[in-house]
Amino acid sequence: MSEEIKLMKGNEAIAHAAIRCGCDGYFGYPITPQSEIMETLMEEEPWKTTGMVVLQAESEVGAINMVYGGAGSGKKVMTSSSSPGISLKQEGISYIAGADLPCLIVNVMRGGPGLGTIQPSQADYFQAVKGGGHGDYQQIVLAPASVQEMADFTVLGFELAFKYLNPVMILADGIIGQMMEKVSLPLFQKRMTDEEIKEKYPWAAYGKPSHRKPNVISSLEIESVEMEKRNQRFQAKYRKIEENEVRFEELECQDAEYMLVAFGTSARVCQKTVELAREQGIKLGLIRPITLWPFPKNEIAKYTSQVKCFFSIEMNAGQMVEDVRLAVNGKTEVAYYGRMGGIVPSPDEVIEFVKTKMV
């Protein structure tokens, strides 16, 4: 499925993967630490090869609404930003969710709140998995922990977005975006033609032939009774996603007495922590949620009788720990350790914290 192995930044991997997987349009606005995504696209000039549109918008607000417009046309469209810019996009994301549209949104997180720091953080977990915008909606959230996953999840993100007609977010951080690792890029996939889109996505607003009713892309439904029905439909869709799309990775879990739960960069730190712990004879394991929504709650719950304490290791003030606690449901102890404001916890810190909970 793949070609030559390359060395590139996570941000660059996203750009190359987007071009290769037949993305029709990228709309963005520069912000550190993810600007290489648009820079790479502009350098590659895919409009000359695949016909992909790349546009620097006037703002994040403009960009996400371009994504909304493109998605409503049945096109494969995406945007990317970092925390403060993602806040600005929330209005549009809510509209996209409310109109059953597919799209890919990349958030390469930095430390907040406010303008904060450009250093890596995971403080947008709540925003990504529990809303962000207004209304009862969910977006699928993929948390890459490597450059390879930045490329892979670009492809997967679009697949899931179109499978469920729902926004998908890649929730990465400055480290995953900025670091270089080996990556094998996906094979080239052709962009869909307008005719193929008409056939495959009959809901798209591409111009009304005389034989059908107008396609109206809208999240507006003024009648409460109808709006509730629409919400029930959304909820049914979300339950289906929860049933089918949970993704996670386990490391040294089989005999683990203590279990780390971490995603993205902090999961990489925790891999190292597990290595160190095992060297010291501590039976430590790691569950890495790959989908943050839907959250692998059953997969964590499975270990409640085996594990003496779960540790949610995060680059924030303790956000995912709430979901871990919900999954564990009081059956065993759940502790949180994290750093904030752009500081990444070190494996040594984590192992020292684990030891404080060991009996």
């Binding site: 192995i5 060395l7 550190t32 630490p33 480290i175 270089m180 690792e181 730190v269 891999q271 070190s346």
Partner: protein, 180 residues
């Protein structure tokens, strides 16, 4: 084999690209590699550093607090990272502009007069390759052929004519590194 390296200096010394060439060289040998720069305003004239890991196993954390080798190219970096070298590890520094040389006894400390050498060779831009040569002399974790391939991969085509200059710089570096 696993080598965890920090390269630190000031913007313009070619710290990031040295790391990149090293990472590419590892890639050419089929190793697992990661290259994690300090990013942001630091790149624009201030201090810059990059963590490079080469390993024959999957790399866990791409950012580290301790290193097998620290290549420190100004006083600020020396102050910051001397203590981050693992006991028994290697510290390489360029003596140019260093007022407080490293003092640790539990590590191997090497000096490389790369600034002077680059002036002597009239090749300012090869400074970082001289340092790389010094490092590779001590820790031959990648073959010279792989470095040349790595250079080809990491340099844009229009700069490929500079590869022999870089190769010479690497060889020069190998000759001038001295244990303190």
């Amino acid at each position: 084999m696993k080598e965890e390296i920090i390269i630190a200096g000031f913007g313009g010394q070619g710290v990031l690209s040295m790391g990149k060439i090293l990472a590419y060289s590892g890639l050419m040998e089929g190793q697992e590699v990661s290259w994690m720069p300090s990013y942001g305003p630091e790149q624009r004239g201030g201090t810059a550093n990059v963590t490079v890991i080469l390993s024959d196993k999957r790399i866990s954390s791409p950012i580290l607090n301790t290193f097998d080798t620290a290549i420190l190219l100004n006083q600020q970096s020396l102050d910051k990272f001397e203590k981050a070298v693992k006991p028994g590890g290697v510290l390489i520094f360029d003596g140019n502009g260093i007022s407080k040389p490293p003092t640790r006894k539990d590590i191997d400390i090497y000096q490389i007069q790369a600034t002077d050498k680059s002036i002597e060779l009239n090749a300012h831009k090869s400074f970082n390759m001289i340092v790389l040569g010094g490092f590779l002399k001590l820790r031959p974790i990648v073959k010279m052929e792989s470095v040349i391939l790595g250079l080809k991969k990491s340099l844009p085509e229009r700069h490929h004519h500079l590869i022999p200059v870089n190769e010479n710089a690497i060889k020069a570096g190998m000759e001038i590194i001295n244990k303190i």
